[in-house]
């Protein structure tokens, strides 16, 4: 009985549960047998080379991509059993910060941040305006940009507006897709600080997809490294590392150490071999 209760408590603590997830597009498998359990309040960085399925994993968690097999459970709810009618409500638990911010071009900054509030709450325009200002202040943006269109903002500002919009409805889980890509080192660090601050102020669970090692080591409690399937053997696990950021450097797998140190290693010769094989196949 006591053991049952402990198991129940353990299950409740796990907010995101990915169980043997496989995602395939046509003939191409992007994710294979991924299993991941993320407790409430944890910040997980998912790292890996381009094309290893990090973004696909993120989009599967919010139901933008359907799994080919396996299960994803959010707060114990199996996503495969969620009806079209239930999805919008379920998605309100999430905030998604897109790689290019994905702000609505036709709306100004204030309207962008207010969008989820107008869609899902019955707040008055004044309350919405106050909340928008508060969210923008949290990410360090002044009142003066309220009426600017996204095209008039810099990359860093767009990212911060995207974060303010993701925070508008006080989500439980925030998904960050490459939050520092394309930003200068200082703005990248500002974003890292904002991720940390958001976690403290809102007690959210965060999943940060990145290939920026500074972000991974600075903001995450736990790092998960995935590897492109095309370069894995049939029996190898796609997750090469799952542990604290401090131990990344001492990982058993040399591919993890190579990624962390940013060393090309044998990649160039591998790429040349791939090109050579392609050329010989096409000439035959």
């Amino acid at each position: 009985m006591a053991r049952d209760r402990t198991a129940q408590a353990g299950r409740e603590k796990v907010l995101v549960d990915v169980d043997r997830l496989t995602v395939r597009f046509g003939r191409q498998t992007v994710l294979r047998d991924i299993s991941l359990r993320i407790p409430r309040g944890q910040t997980v960085a998912v790292i890996g080379e381009s094309g290893c399925g990090k973004t696909v994993l993120l989009k599967t968690l919010i139901g933008l991509i359907s799994p080919t097999s396996g299960k994803v459970r959010i707060g114990g709810k199996d996503l495969s059993t969620v009806s079209a009618r239930e999805w919008p409500r379920l998605r309100l638990q999430f905030g998604f910060v897109f790689q290019q911010a994905a702000l609505f071009d036709s709306l100004n900054v204030a309207e962008n941040v207010a969008f989820p509030l107008r869609q899902h709450t019955k707040k008055t325009p004044r309350e919405i305006r106050d909340l928008v200002l508060a969210r923008l202040a949290e990410v360090g943006l002044p009142k003066t940009i309220l009426h600017k269109k996204p095209a008039e903002l810099s990359g860093g500002m767009r990212k911060r507006v995207g974060l303010a919009r993701a925070l508008a409805l006080d989500p439980q889980i925030i998904l960050y897709d490459e939050p520092t890509t394309g930003l200068d080192p200082i703005m990248s660090d500002v974003i890292n600080e904002l991720i940390l601050r958001t976690r403290e102020q809102h007690s959210v669970t965060s999943i940060v997809v990145t290939h920026d090692m500074r972000t991974a080591t600075k903001v995450a409690d736990r790092v998960v490294m995935t590897y492109p399937l095309a370069r894995l053997k049939q029996d190898e696990r796609q997750i090469l590392y799952d542990g604290p950021p401090a131990k990344l450097d001492q990982a058993d797998d040399p591919r993890v150490r190579q990624f962390v140190r940013g060393e090309a290693g044998a990649r160039i010769s591998e790429m040349e071999e791939e090109v050579g094989a392609d050329l010989s196949a096409s000439s035959a």
Binding site: K59, I62, L64, W87, P88, R89, R91, L92, F94, F96, F98, Q99, Q100, A102, L103, F104, D105, S106, F115, P116, Q119, H120, R165, A281, A284
Partner: protein, 291 residues
């Protein structure tokens, strides 16, 4: 001499030569047919979802009004201009033939009948497909490519309800207005050219027009335009939603939106024309006679 099998050949026993070519051709054809069938199924499903949302929950005023302005108000000048010119061109082209038969005074009947039943609605729809359909496909395509449509979904909003339904409603409601504008300006253009350039008697011109062009003809044109508007909106939104990545994908979405809409306008025009003609002759078996 022993035949050696190339090591790169995947199937040593595969048929070669003509037979191989034929099987490849059949496979390609099959793939093409499957693609087309899947594409049509996809458009049908998209249209069904749009209709479902239309009857479930109407879009908000702030999403409707910009579309009404973009699709209706901004299209009026170009539709009016092309309508005027088409009316005048009809007068120019028909005059010589009618003069040979001494039937110049019947020009009004022909010009106005052609405009109200055919050219007005088709012209307004073509202008709408070119001006608005391509723009809608490009705008929604860009939103797809830059993940704005994904962002909408993530924020618990339905992209079809938020993006497609207002555009569909605006096209459906405003295309009759544009058609009436094209008809009116075409009638004015045809009249002006016939009376002032070709010196046809105005009284007879209008008398014949009135005799042959009835309210059913006007209804025919407006009724057809509703289908054209719906087709333009659905095709263009569908192309935008299913845009391929990159600038090339957006460009392709805009082009195919216009081409498919235009083809659909002509196909619908034929079938609706046949159907409405059957109704007309069932109601008025004698019909109207020019001579």
């Amino acid at each position: 001499m022993a035949t050696s099998v190339s090591p790169t050949h995947p199937r040593p026993n595969a048929p070669r030569g003509f037979l191989r070519g034929f099987t490849d051709w059949v496979a390609d054809l099959g793939e093409l047919v499957m693609d087309r069938v899947a594409g049509m199924g996809d458009v049908t499903l998209f249209s069904w979802r749009t209709m479902t949302w239309l009857f479930t929950r109407l879009p908000r005023r702030e999403t409707l009004l910009p579309n009404f302005y973009q699709i209706g108000v901004l299209s009026l000048p170009v539709v009016a201009l092309t309508g005027t010119f088409i009316g005048m061109v009809l007068a120019v082209q028909s005059y010589a033939q009618f003069r040979m038969l001494n039937l110049e005074t019947r020009l009004g009947a022909v010009i106005n009948m052609t405009l109200v039943r055919e050219l007005g609605p088709v012209l307004a729809a073509t202008m709408l497909a070119g001006r608005v359909g391509s723009a809608m496909a490009a705008e929604l395509g860009t939103m797809r490519v830059t993940e704005q449509i994904d962002a909408l979904t993530c924020m618990g909003a339905n992209p079809i309800h938020y993006l497609a339904v207002p555009r569909f409603l605006a096209c459906l409601i405003l295309i009759p207005t544009l058609t009436i504008m094209a008809d009116f300006m075409g009638v004015v253009g045809g009249y002006a050219y016939s009376i002032y350039a070709l010196n046809i008697d105005a009284h007879h011109y209008w008398e014949n027009s009135e005799k042959f062009v009835g309210s059913f003809d006007l209804f025919t044109g407006i009724f057809k335009s509703l289908f054209f508007g719906a087709a333009i909106a659905l095709i263009s939104c569908h192309r935008g939603f299913n845009c391929r990545p990159g600038a090339e994908g957006v460009g392709q979405a805009a082009t195919t939106a216009f081409v498919y809409s235009f083809v659909m306008i002509l196909v619908l025009d034929l079938f609706l024309g046949i159907m409405l003609d059957s109704i007309y002759y069932a109601l008025w078996p004698d019909g109207a006679r020019l001579i």
